[in-house]
């Protein structure tokens, strides 16, 4: 066994203390009918071979691409300080801080995380974190229901598809209603439609959920939407991206009651899907409704300032079936990554990361427009936007073959929308290079030019070339 310490002598000694000669009697209470006899699995791999196997697998992922893929997970520069702090065994092998006297490291870093996210979001109460942006959004939606005792939530069509889907799944369990508000041609949420839905007296709304930036990368009229929600007695939930909060007005400034979001951009690598960091924050009056762990400052018996998990009676181990949520974890190590990242990069640095992304994105827009793919929407964006590309899925494949990961074909998320089917969602960050932008622009130009040539040739020969059968 690779990590067990017991020698034959150790086992013999323990067995002797029990008056046994083998461990079999210790499993005798498993009924014969359900007793298993080993596992049909390969044998152990010595560490050297295991390391080789892992390297082989890692090498099968293509990492040399010029990537413009965002859609909720973003490439950023990760200062090595972050990972070196995460590798400290006292942090990553620690348990949940139920014994605060020997967990002040974990507890203080969570308090610091809560404090910095409170500043970024402009909201007073920040939970120690949830699993990811999607579950945080679902929990935020559930909070609006609990707080208002209403059963209907409105979510903009321009909120991240996965967040909406996860909320729908959570709502099914609770028998709640989730209705979508459409978007306008400019890519932002249709506030007139929102107002109409809010005005229906027979179906009062608990909460309104919108993203800033939204899932198309665009900036939404959040203050106006919050006003509409409040006028109808509903709460307003903002789904936010944390780096953008360095330069965009935060949820607290435009009247959001709750903020949810994905903290991955703060020092956490993409890792093909997680573990990530669910941001959940709310105004002070909602503090008893917020699910998940909270850390507070207090004093010890000798007056020292120290930190402890607090407002525990909200949580599942005490409230059991009356708990607001069954959540037991917080993504503590991911919250630590965000805390170290923010401490390292600093407020000016974070602003620079956001601004550099915006600057790179404008260069990207120019290059792609020149290549024949202008923006689809007209609303302002920060560092992500959709471009119009005929036969987008096939073009995406063709670009991949030329070493460019050209964002996300929006038809993946909106298969029934003809305009979005013919578009790619692309982003740039501070790590996007001019060379990568040039590669993308040149490759796209060539592909579109070839396509145009093909189409012209086909038209000339009287045969119509179908515009591609990718689904």
């Amino acid at each position: 066994m690779p990590y067990g310490p017991h020698t034959g002598d150790d086992r013999a000694r323990m067995l002797e203390a029990l008056g046994l000669t083998s461990v079999e009697p210790l499993f005798a209470d498993i009924p014969t009918a359900v007793r298993a006899h080993g596992l049909d699995l390969p044998g152990p791999l010595p560490e050297l071979e295991l390391a080789q196997r892992l390297e082989t697998l890692a090498a099968r992922n293509q990492t040399g691409l010029a990537s413009f893929l965002g859609a909720g997970v973003y490439r950023h520069y990760l200062p090595p300080v972050v990972d070196q702090m995460l590798l400290r065994g006292e942090f990553y092998t620690a348990y949940t801080p139920y014994q605060p006297e020997i967990s002040q490291g974990t507890l203080q870093t969570i308090y610091e995380y809560q404090s910095m996210l409170a500043e970024l979001t402009g909201l007073d109460v920040v939970s120690a974190s949830h699993y990811d942006g999607a579950s945080a959004t679902a929990e935020a939606a559930l909070m609006t229901v609990r707080a208002t005792h209403r059963t209907r939530v409105l979510v903009s069509r321009a909120v991240h598809r996965h967040y909406v889907e996860a909320t729908r799944t959570y709502f099914r369990g609770a028998e709640l209603i989730l209705d979508e508000i459409p978007t306008r041609d400019d890519g932002t949420t249709d506030l007139a439609a929102l107002e109409r839905e809010l005005a229906d007296p027979s179906r009062p709304v608990a909460g309104v959920v919108m993203g800033q930036p939204n899932a198309f990368g665009l900036l939404e009229p959040m203050a106006d939407a919050a006003r509409l929600a409040h006028a109808a007695g509903a709460l307003f939930v903002a789904v936010v991206e944390p780096v953008s909060l360095a330069v965009l007005a935060p949820p607290g400034a435009y009247g959001a009651d709750i903020a949810a979001g994905e903290g991955q951009p703060l020092g956490i690598p993409p890792q093909y899907g997680g573990p990530y960091l669910g941001i959940l924050a709310c105004t002070q009056p909602l503090v008893r409704q917020i699910p998940g762990r909270l850390v507070g400052a207090t004093t010890d018996a000798e007056g020292r300032r120290a930190f402890v998990m607090t407002l525990r009676a909200r949580e599942q181990d005490i409230r059991r079936e009356r708990a607001a949520s069954n959540i037991c974890t917080n993504q503590a190590l991911c919250a630590l990554a965000a805390t170290v990242y923010l401490a390292t990069i600093g407020p000016h640095g974070l602003r620079d990361v956001a601004a550099a992304g915006a600057a790179r994105a404008r260069r990207l827009e120019d290059a792609l427009t020149e290549a024949g793919a202008p923006r689809l929407h007209s609303a302002p964006y920060l560092n992500e936007f959709a471009i119009s590309v005929p036969d987008a899925a096939r073009v995406h494949d063709a670009l991949l073959a030329r070493g460019v990961l050209a964002g996300l074909p929006l038809g993946t998320w909106y298969p029934d929308d003809p305009l979005l089917r013919e578009s790619l969602l692309v982003c740039a960050t501070e790590v996007t290079t001019d060379d990568e932008i040039r590669r993308f622009g040149d490759a796209l130009h060539d592909i579109l030019a070839d396509d145009a040539q093909d189409a012209a040739a086909q038209a000339g020969s009287g045969r119509y070339a179908p515009s591609g059968a990718r689904s």
């Binding site: 791999l45 390297e55 990553y92 348990y95 610091e112 404090s115 994905e262 093909y272 018996a301 607090t310």
Partner: protein, 517 residues
Amino acid sequence: MSADPVGQTLPAAPNLGPRTAVGPSLQPTLAELSRPGRGGNKIPHPPANALAGIPARHRRDGTPALPELNELEVVRHFVNLSHLNYGVDTGFYPLGSCTMKYNPKLNEWAARLPGFAALHPLAPDAVAQGTLELLWETEQWLAEISGMRAVTLQPAAGAQGELTGILMVRAYHEARGDHERREVIVPDSSHGTNPATASMAGFTTVTVPSAADGGVDLDALRAALGPHTAAVMLTNPSTLGLFEARVVELLEAVHAVGALAYMDGANLNAVLGKFRPGEAGFDVMHFNVHKTFSTPHGGGGPGAGPVGVGEKLQPYLPGPRVVRDDDGPFRLERPDERPASIGRVRAYQGSAGVYVRAYAYLRAHGGSGLVEVSEDAVLAANYLKSRLRGTYEIPYDRPCKHEFVASGEALKIETGVRTLDVAKRLIDKGFHPPTIYFPHIVEECLLIEPTETESVETLDAFADALLAIAAEAHEDPELVHSAPHTAPVRRLDEATAARQPDLHWRAMTGVETPCPT
């Protein structure tokens, strides 16, 4: 947050206790260490007009008031905070139901390989073949370990796995046209997440008592079962560390009324290769990979909670799963391939970074190694129990599995020293306390789980410490009442922390120095 109206006054220095050259010292917060103009300089400055395209109404007023420290101060801050923490790498964690086994360092190296770490979750399948293969293989291994037909890796934690499983149960009954199943039954020894999960999924929780032998009271269960029962959630071995000897009858009773059986897999470390829940008849279960499969607890997360299902629930699994077409490349399932799926419970496919670690653990052990894990875990628990017997009551004194309960009730009656005090005194002896006051059905409960990665010397030292504390309780109870004495802080005022919550530092005033050009 409201800023200090008087301007940039630094907060009064908190009482941090004495500093020492080596050894843990309390630390100021990042806000207290911050000085304007320090730090940063990690990336080049963007052009001055970078944000010109953002309309003023969307812009933040000023720069966020975040701490400014240079790199050395950041490093010292977190290094010194780490000294205030206890981890598995520091010492023994006998926490029942947590399985605090060693976190292998190879796994940390593997998860950080750029091929794994830099991969975007929406990357096309062709780009992600390495991770897809790893995830697919992990699913196969978990299916074999559990005897389940299929596994989803999507849930981000055990609790989310529970929710996923119970939502699938709900979908199953709805698909059968049975809308009367509104109840989920749990034993009184269940983990708090079980009833909380049932509530989230829209069910009422019915609690059945445990029998005198610690197992589920079969008669009480039969009385509670009926056409309103959607599922029964069982932990096996139970939270008392006992294998449910009547599991066959229990499963029969559950299925006889048309309900489904859910197994909380938190205690799987006890029965690897000895008991396969799917094979025994459980319809669905979740795994806690941060328990059984060594992925680090991280101070409270992240974990992962994959869910295994039998035939009945396969159609409802959240998607997309990783599939392989006839020895061809790996890919993600398309939505149309699982039309009855309950949908997703989170974004993307699952916490692949956690599964790299779990996969490495599984491959390092192989099937035979996993069986040895359970054998050693169970042996260690029984050995430790034998050392404590006679000093602490052992309410269920028969062979346990990987954990056991002891009670400090007699100690409390004789000396006034409670289990809480014993736990805090263990800190002075150099150990993290075990789980206390859970499960609720044992008075002054200690739930102790050594795991298979602790040496006999460690087990003996822990037993010696518990015996010594029992003696101290008789000779000098005040010493135990007022423990811990040697930790960086003494017992904390949790009442004030709850009555007047202080959840973030007082707002720093806005960053005054303009961004350097």
